[in-house]
Symmetry: C2
Subunit: 337 residues, 2 copies
């Protein structure tokens, strides 16, 4: 499904990222493998892995925005490589923090090599991401490179703020929906926003235009996360219609749940139990429907989505990259073409 977006840029993105790692040819092979493994280039034993892991959504978005803003995507490749390396660094550390065993149907880095080496491999990917970004010096004027560096620094601090809140919320019951939206703005939306903004700045050199792209990416990210939360309770709308409620079973404090907790003591009691049986899950979904959690959450998704569309219209973007961007957004939101 997402392959067609990647195909637009051939193998250039993957090559740009691999070059970043390969430039450090003094890294011991076993250490390089810990970096190449989560990217989907190597297997854990250092042999080649058949295909990259992940959909590469952030770099594709960045390259499409560079084009849509009037530039050539090739000039934006270093930034595209940077955001994908950064995203994967954050996954390596997230998996340690969340104690997750698998990702992309493979053991996580810490599961293969242990936590100490996995923390360090993540740190190396973090530094390599900056190294990738710095290669913009080859295609851009110094002032624009420095502007992009500033955006990047602020984005990463924002990512760690979102990650902090996400971990903090696990042990808290009184989280407002505003707290939650602030968390996903950092954890999910900030990097998408930065990808769009950096792409546009590289493509146009126009900071005002790039700001509209930032608003587009931020609202797109928020809408996408809110939609994901809706699916976690009410399931895929195009499927059986039967509720999945997986987020209730895993006791995730997603947006509809937080809305429900603020409205219903009965839901609060269910969430305070250490385990939830099937009847309680049905009860919880019933409560969410009753208190208007679905309407609230769907209303927010629509609002963010429309804000994204408005911001995009304000960019004055043109060309066939715009069609591709629309298709990418539709694919993200599960709408077929």
């Amino acid at each position: 499904m997402f392959n067609k977006f990647l195909e637009r840029y051939g193998s250039h993105l993957e090559e740009e990222m691999q070059r970043t790692v390969s430039r450090y040819d003094n890294l011991p092979a076993a250490f390089a493998t810990m970096i190449r493994y989560p990217m989907g280039w190597d297997d854990a034993d250092g042999t080649p892995y058949p295909h990259p892991t992940g959909k590469r959504i952030r770099p594709v978005l960045l390259l499409l925005c560079a084009e849509a803003a009037g530039g050539h995507w090739k000039h934006a490749l270093p930034a595209a490589a940077a955001v994908e390396l950064l995203h994967n660094f954050s996954l390596v550390h997230d998996d340690i923090q969340d104690n997750s065993d698998t990702r992309h149907n493979r053991p996580t880095v810490w599961k293969v090599w242990g936590q100490p080496l996995a923390i360090n491999a993540g740190d190396a990917m973090f530094a390599l991401s900056y190294d990738a970004l710095s290669r913009l010096q080859g295609t851009l004027d110094p002032a624009t490179v420095l502007s992009i560096w500033n955006i990047y620094n602020e984005t990463i601090v924002e990512l760690t703020r979102g990650q902090y809140l996400d971990m903090q919320f696990e042990t808290m019951m009184d989280i407002t929906t505003d707290d939650y939206l602030s968390m996903i703005a950092g954890k999910t939306a900030a990097l998408l926003a930065a990808a769009c903004q950096m792409g546009a700045l590289i493509g146009s050199g126009d900071a005002e235009k790039a700001a509209h792209f930032h608003t587009f990416g931020l609202n797109l990210g928020l809408a996408f996360q809110v939609r994901d939360d809706i699916l976690g309770i009410w399931g895929q709308p195009d499927q059986t219609g039967k509720s999945a409620a997986t987020d209730i079973i895993s006791r995730k404090k997603s947006l509809p749940v937080l809305f429900g907790l603020s409205k219903s003591d009965d839901l609060r009691k269910i969430y305070e139990h250490p385990h939830t049986d099937n009847m309680e899950v049905q009860q919880a979904v019933g409560i969410l429907d009753e208190v208007g959690a679905a309407d609230f959450t769907r209303g927010l998704e629509t609002s963010y989505y429309e804000h994204a569309q408005q911001a995009f219209a304000a960019t004055g973007a043109s060309g066939d990259a715009v069609d591709m961007l629309n298709q990418l957004v539709d694919a993200l939101f599960g709408r077929s073409h």
Copy 2:
């Protein structure tokens, strides 16, 4: 002892670092404390801590080199703040990796807040370090800022290489002295080298001069680590003269030990035991003396030290910062004035 070097720069360094963190005023207070705590600004409960932790050697070295190269140290403050934030990021992650409970006589970050939050606090300090560095844009031309950014990226990848080797060596017996020297070049000397180089580049804008400062810092770092390894076996030369041998008791594979292991099967047998009693410790020190480990290690220390001095002479540095640099080096090497 080291206070007099810090005094030269008043409170400017600490303020520069604190400003970097404070700029992100949307960070939750409890999260900011996790960053401010290891710097020695806050206690774990968020109340002010009486004095910064650590000697701030790297930023002082950077500022002195900026002066010695002919510049004004104030222009180098953003880079000085960056290297100290980076150093402390690496300590936060190191303490998790090494399972260390205390640092500077206080519980480590992970010990106070748990590993997941500590990993994230370290990541935030990593990003803030780049943010600090980017403020060079206020005092330097864009091309020089970009040169310094490149040095910084490469230095951090090198740090992770050294850290990887250090962790890897813990489980290995056959480490050559060359392997070990390559490890400390990354883990210890790379950031000292970069601090000297960046300071000189900011102070002079002269890449060739800055390269001599890099060589100075690298060899200084190597000499210092090798000296530390000597003290770990033979103790403080100005003390009782009685051997401390702490590194043998903790079974550290330091430079003299690795030299000994390559020369003596008897030492190898002692190191293969899970525990070492007092007689075995004396035996091990005896073997090290016998096979010439002390001469080998002291020879290397002298060689690195002399290389550092030669490189420094080649910089053509001048002014009273040179005296201060000499005093700092003497203080590092335990020579009194």
